[in-house]
């Protein structure tokens, strides 16, 4: 019997995706577990496996089509010798696709943090809130329900959310159109997500910024010594690895920044899960080093390299980039003196790390030379006040300037 293959929800936040590539052609035989297509979501490309066997009878959504809503039939699977229907047979039970990675393994912090998805998960919403969200073009999945059992109420809609996902386009998007002197590049899914989330952050989260100069000489010396102990170059610890650990320890010491603000309450997290911003050709992604305070520099270094590599290849699993409790953005490699980062909601803080450079410093009444780095903390003022932000930065500076705590 012919069955529809539906667009899978590969993560709890996914409402739509791009059908990046078909790996099977019409007429190909498919066994359970075969990778049949690649789907590009908000932040990653993922492989889609068949859960049933049969013949890929008809492809309904061609390669390159963007904005395919979750649960849209994308192909028809038939049994051998069976006639292939022209269109989706809505009556027949649809075969969901097993998607690797599986969203269920996302830790609790991210369940709270991740916006609910309209298509893959039941959303509790009052009829009034539903209508108001529709009228205002707000996606229910982007709202934080504050009613009983997380039900979305009128007040939640009034506080605002994100624009609803657009209906799937039926024709493949033209990659680039030239219009006189202007080259029009359609925004990628990731570009749209970055635009939406950062606009939301800058308009809804009252940021404040605190900067400190941190001397790096002791940390650099320690790094050289540690790396010298590596036999066969089995590891090479970077300043970034050490900063991840230092931020982890500072968050443990001053847990007031390891929080998340919601209207009803402020969530204080036990675990220190650090999102590190990684630049990739399409934009930006923030893979997570979990429990950064507890891991050795070697573990952090290995994980960070692996995550960055897979991030650039678009192969991160959702749980690897969703649900951190604090972010670091490091532009040290670009020779910048200082910068301020936009908070990655729903987190309450992000640390912007600029380049370490030799600067003149005053010690006592003498001028001296030190390697100095300016670090700027952006904080959600709804959850954290200025004094705490400053205390936290001081704690971080103490750790970096006395870096032995990083290895003890």
């Amino acid at each position: 019997m012919a069955t529809d293959i539906l667009m899978p929800a590969l993560s709890p936040t996914m409402t739509e995706g791009k059908l990046a590539r078909w790996l099977k052609k019409e007429g190909d035989k498919v066994s359970a577990g075969d990778v049949i297509a690649e789907i590009e979501t908000d932040k990653a490309t993922m492989e889609v496996e068949a859960v049933d066997e049969g013949i890929l009878g008809r492809i309904l959504v061609q390669e390159g089509v963007e904005g395919v809503a979750v649960n849209t039939p994308i192909a028809i699977l038939v049994e051998e010798g069976e006639d292939v229907p022209d269109a989706s047979t809505a009556q027949t039970p649809a075969v969901a696709l097993a998607a690797e990675p599986v969203a269920a393994s996302i830790p609790p912090a991210s369940t709270k943090a991740a916006p609910k998805d309209e298509s893959s998960e039941r959303i509790f919403v009052s009829p009034l809130a539903k209508r108001m969200a529709k009228d205002r073009g707000i996606a229910l999945g982007s709202l934080n329900g504050t009613g009983p059992n997380g039900r979305i109420l009128k007040r939640d809609v009034e506080k605002g959310g994100n624009a609803a996902p657009v209906a799937p386009k039926t024709t493949p998007a033209t990659p680039v159109a030239t219009d006189g002197d202007v080259k029009r590049v359609p925004n990628s899914t990731m570009r749209k997500v970055i635009a939406r989330r950062l606009t939301e952050s800058k308009t809804q989260v009252p940021h404040f910024y605190v900067s400190v100069d941190i001397e790096l000489d002791a940390l650099l010396a320690l790094r050289s010594k540690l790396n010298a102990t590596a036999e066969d170059n089995s590891f090479k610890i970077s300043v970034n690895d050490m900063m991840i650990k230092a931020v982890g320890l500072a968050l443990k010491k001053q847990p007031g920044l390891n929080v998340q603000f919601t209207d009803a309450e402020t969530l204080h997290f036990e675990n220190v899960d650090i999102s590190m911003a990684v630049s990739i050709p399409e934009g930006l992604i923030t893979p997570i080093i979990r429990n950064a305070d507890q891991k050795s520099l070697r573990e952090i270094s290995r994980e960070a390299k692996d995550l960055a590599k897979r991030a650039r290849a678009g192969k991160l699993k959702p749980e690897e980039f969703q649900g951190g409790t604090f972010s670091i953005s490091n532009m040290g490699m670009f020779g910048v003196r200082d910068f301020a980062a936009i908070i990655n909601p729903p987190q309450a803080g992000i640390l912007a790390i600029a380049s370490g450079e030799k600067r003149a410093v005053v010690r006592g009444d003498q001028l001296a030379i030190a390697t100095v780095m300016t670090a700027t903390l952006s904080v959600d003022h709804r959850a954290v006040d200025g004094a705490l932000g400053a205390q936290w930065l001081n704690a971080l500076r103490d750790i970096v300037q006395n870096p032995y705590t990083l290895v003890v």
Binding site: S126, P127, L128, A129, R131, M132, D135, G147, P148, L153, K154, A264
Partner: protein
């Protein structure tokens, strides 16, 4: 017995005893301190005994309308002491029920007056006195103040228990006053006016505002006034009541209003001019608890400014309704227990007046909705066009709905007529669940019921009613 509890509740009214029961359900050890009687004013001197009286007066009214229903009877009479005795008996019976519930829930009860007596470490100390002597000192990190309120005494209108009655005297008459003046036309004043008028007294209502039942939608106020006047009540609004001159067994006064000056002599005066919170002698002065115009200031979870001290019900401010007190008791206890209750939404608390006709409402009146910036759609439906109401002989009444024209939110519902106090909960559910007109229109209402007027009043605000 340990002197330390997870929770101490001060006051055993509908706020306090419900809080104690809920806390016990959630596994807390609970003490409750009550000075007089469990059930508070509501059960002993308010809601319940007045409903018993009003039931009698309703029957009295029906007995005088027997011909309508095909009956005839002669020499119909009543025995006022028996009517009052029934009311008192019901209050006693319900009070006994609460004592039983508290016992079953293993709540430790203390007979006496409670006063905050400083801290012992993290815990608050509560001293309990009976007849001026301290009988116990108990401790808890959490104390809920649920001491209620009492009728306000205005200078010159003080109740004296003989000629000038408060609620207590008004619900325990030994003989029916032939002529009665009711000062104040809130729910309490109107219920007494209705009781006495239905029992045969000549009733005058004096209200300082420009309409009766000021909490209600003006259209409902006007309909109520019309109904009461048809029953023979005299209603003076914008009234200034002059000095009460007490005689041997009557009271004379002068009432000024826009429509002139009236000299009035009555047998009794009922004073129902508002409420003051019972905030005295609670030991609040040693705490950070804030009191504003006799009411304790609290947040959405009933927390006062003093950590560990909570206040619920009448003592924590308007609306002074038993169901508000009970609901606050529950959410306050759940918050203490670390659950995630919803704060109480004032506009979702229904108000009921059990006069004849009854009055009930929830949410915003039309004028308040417009003042709040809503573009409104208003629906009205009269009882006259409802089959059940006509069959019951209860054609006096109407339902008015106020919807937001843009979102379809039910902003308010206002009802007057038979059984509306039983029906208003339908609209309260709609408001609490944030239903829109679409769900109300889609709801199948049973036929024949007076509740069909609720459906029609919704249709009337949108596509138009069917039966008019």
């Amino acid at each position: 017995m340990s002197d330390t509890f997870d929770l101490i509740v001060v006051g055993g009214g509908p706020g306090g005893y419900v809080a104690a029961l809920r806390a016990s359900q959630l596994g807390m050890s609970v003490a409750i301190v009550e000075s007089t009687h469990f059930g508070g004013v509501c059960l002993n001197w308010g809601c319940i005994p007045t409903k018993a009286l009003l039931r009698s007066s309703e029957i009295h009214h029906l007995l005088h309308d027997l011909g309508t229903f095909g009956f005839s009877a002669e020499n119909v009479s009543f025995d006022l002491p028996k009517i009052v005795a029934r009311s008192r008996g019901i209050a006693r019976r319900m009070g006994g029920g609460i004592a039983h519930l508290l016992k079953k829930a293993k709540v430790t009860t203390f007979d006496g007056r409670a006063k905050l007596a400083g801290r012992a470490g993290e815990a608050h100390k509560v001293s309990i006195t009976k007849d001026g002597a301290e009988v116990a000192v108990i401790k808890s990190p959490n104390v809920i103040l649920a001491t209620g309120a009492r009728g306000r005494q205005l200078p010159g209108l003080e109740t004296d228990g003989k000629l000038i009655w408060g609620a207590r005297e008004a619900m325990t008459p030994t003989e029916l006053p032939k002529r009665l003046l009711v000062i104040g036309s809130g729910a309490i004043g109107i219920e007494f006016a209705s009781f006495y008028r239905n029992m045969g007294s000549e009733v005058t209502i004096a209200e300082v505002a420009d309409r009766i039942l000021i909490a209600e939608d003006p259209e409902i106020s006007a309909a109520a006034r019309k109904a009461f006047e048809k029953q023979g009540m005299k209603i003076i609004t914008g009234a200034k009541v002059g000095p009460l001159q007490k005689g041997e067994n009557e009271v004379s006064t002068t009432i000024e209003s826009a429509s002139g000056t009236v000299d009035l002599t009555v047998d009794r005066v009922i004073c129902a001019v508002g409420i003051v919170g019972n905030v005295e002698d609670l030991g609040l002065e040693g705490t950070k608890v804030q009191v504003d115009r006799t009411h304790i200031v609290t947040d959405g979870f009933c927390r006062t400014a003093e950590p560990g001290i909570y206040a619920i019900g009448d003592v924590a401010g308007a609306p002074w309704l038993a169901h508000k007190a009970s609901h606050e008791g529950i959410l306050c206890v759940e918050k203490i227990a670390g659950r995630s209750p919803q704060p109480l939404h004032a506009l979702n608390i229904p108000g009921c007046t059990y006069s004849r006709p009854q009055i009930a409402s929830v949410g915003l009146s039309e004028e308040k909705a417009i003042a709040a910036g809503h573009k409104v759609r208003v629906g009205r439906f009269p009882f006259m066009a409802n089959g059940k109401a006509v069959a019951m002989g209860e054609t006096e009444g109407m339902v008015k709905t106020v919807f937001d024209a843009t979102t379809g939110e039910l902003l308010g519902a206002h009802m007057i007529g038979a059984e509306v106090t039983e029906m208003i909960q339908g609209y309260v559910i709609a408001r609490t669940g944030e239903l829109t007109e679409a769900e109300l229109i889609e709801t199948v209402f049973p036929h024949p019921t007076i509740s069909e007027t609720m459906h029609e009043a919704t249709l009337a605000a949108f596509d138009g009613p069917l039966h008019i």
